[in-house]
Symmetry: C2
Subunit: 338 residues, 2 copies
DNA sequence: CTGAAAGCGCTTACAG
DNA sequence: CTGAAAGCGCTTACAG
């Protein structure tokens, strides 16, 4: 059993009030008492119970985070920067890894409520009615990070997915490509599904390129689906000469598929990804990607959440961060041939 | 402000004791009262405070986890399976991402104590005296996952790193290689540093192969260091024909370095990694690796911890899991030449 | 500057 | 079957 404040008080020969005061760094404690107390704390290895403290202070310093998939390098990088920001603001993270498991998410949202977390960060946008309504009832600040669900009532920290996708596609067009394949995300996702798809389509039509539905496929953002969808695209009578995949993971899957068919990236097919995950630098050729400011996204997310928590502010406007095209080795002009 | 049990009691016209009883599923509550209470709970959106509950039950259902690097696919995969096991046992995870920051670790250990976590999982072995002594004083069950620090007093969930490294090296020897390079880890780490190094050396000497120190380098387990160390190895007068890197990340770095020098894996140089991370399947050629049972490791870690928590058992014996050589495409017999 | 007492939101004997 | 009261380990007015 851990020692309690009473034990410290007895050992130091003072009241618990006094112990509490030195614990909380209040002035108005005589030096000799203070040192007696500190000595007792040291000897006992005492650490005040945050549980008891939270109860009286009505402040838990806890933040709940819901991650769609911890093993994804995109999410784990955001989480890492969230953790850093939390830690330096004396907040602790309660993390929940839902793996497309809505029930688990519902359960965790309740757990968060029971734990009286001060804020919640959610990193996916497959929000159904149950979840939406529970979030509303919760009455706890919520920030969506990297996604924006339909619901307008919460703050999202995102990039302009439409514009980013538009520019990624435009980049391929500028390289001379006309048959440009697309490996999209889940169309139920507003930001990473619909918006990126629209960006792709509009870039094509704005440049008088016909949209060929055969060149359009949808995956689930993961490597394997990029591989599978690429395989599909390669089986077209006229396969695309460039492909835009809306996640780096899918782009890498597509690259692997191309290589496994003895074709070359970028000589035969150019590939551009999206996100700016660590993978971009790991694969060969290095992956050109439309990057999100992942680190910054975590930081800004925490900052916005802390602001809502401490100022008891209403949900603020969305914050749109800058995306950036990072050119590496996976794209080439169309006319280039070995 | 969240509603409290008193609010529910008033609304239902019963005592808080009765509300508490239906909350905790006790029998001996008349059905009509029970339904009144449930109705009030529903209407108020009430969820009992885990904080208050923890205080009286002296049970927080919290587990603290210290991860060396969240962005590493090895650790995030373990964490993911730990989270799953925790969640299904109604435990919540408080996660701390220390990035080689000993001060942060010390701070978090104290936070864990203050939060009265019921158990702690630590996934790195750079334990200094301060940390060691604090862990001892904590008097909270601790499990080391995937590592074994010198200190024998805590349970570790590990593989037999020596044997695994021995076998990885033996595999290269059996392929006919004699100049076998080694990219090791931090020699202050017992398991992943020293033991893997010994395995490598002994496999060589047991097979009458001279140990060439020029072929031995040490990195920090990350991709970049694999790249850098490989570059070093390639500058030897007689570069190795095969390299064993003690992490998949370093192995991938080494592969990239080799390719960037216009050499081929495995035609010019064979590479074998260690860990069994997701990267093995992502890179081309796919990486042959001596794999740890990462998923299982997480599961077994939680199981062992829960056992110590509930049975108040003393730290148990280490648990040694099975490693497994998974042959993919990055190694080839020595005599093979294009 | 110091301490006794009330209270945070629950659970759990205890009494009825 | 139900409720009043004590207590979990703290903090915070309040009084001195």
């Amino acid at each position: 059993m851990q020692p309690k404040i009473k034990d410290v008080a007895q050992r130091a020969g003072v009241s618990v009030t006094t112990v509490s005061r030195v614990l909380n760094g209040e002035k108005y404690v005589k030096d000799d008492l203070k040192s007696k107390v500190n000595k007792a704390i040291e000897e006992l290895g005492y650490a005040p119970s945050q549980i008891a403290r939270s109860l009286v202070r009505k402040k838990t310093n806890l933040i709940g985070v819901i991650v769609p998939d911890l093993t994804s390098s995109f999410y784990s990088t955001i989480l890492s920067s969230i953790e850093e920001a939390a830690s330096s603001n004396d907040y602790n993270l309660l993390v929940c890894n839902i793996i497309e498991d809505i029930d688990k998410e519902l359960k965790y949202l309740t757990v968060f409520q029971e734990m009286r977390v001060e804020g919640i960060i959610i990193m996916h946008e497959k929000i159904n009615e149950d979840i939406r309504s529970i979030i509303h009832k919760l009455n706890i600040p919520v920030i969506f990070s990297s996604v924006k669900p339909m619901d307008q009532e919460f703050t999202s920290i995102i990039i302009d997915d439409y514009k980013a996708a538009y520019e990624a596609t435009k980049y391929l067009i500028d390289l001379g490509h006309e048959e440009i394949g697309f490996i999209g995300g889940d169309m139920r996702d507003i930001t990473s599904g619909q918006n990126r798809y629209s960006g792709y389509r509009n870039a094509l039509s704005d440049n008088k390129i016909k949209i060929v539905y055969e060149n359009i496929r949808f995956g689930d953002y993961k490597v394997q689906s990029g591989y599978d969808q690429m395989k599909d695209l390669l089986s077209n009578k006229q396969p695309p000469t460039a492909v835009f995949a809306v996640s780096d993971d899918m782009a890498v899957g597509a690259m692997n598929c191309i290589r496994d068919q003895n074709l070359s990236v970028p000589d035969d097919i150019s590939i551009i990804g999206f996100d700016g995950s660590q993978l971009t630098e790991l694969v060969r050729p290095k992956l050109t990607s439309m990057e999100q400011p992942i680190q910054e996204m975590g930081k800004v997310t925490m900052a916005a959440l802390l602001k809502q928590i401490s100022h008891k502010e209403a949900p603020s406007e969305d914050i749109i961060l800058e995306h950036k095209l990072v050119v590496r080795e996976s794209c080439r002009t169309r006319n280039h041939k070995k």
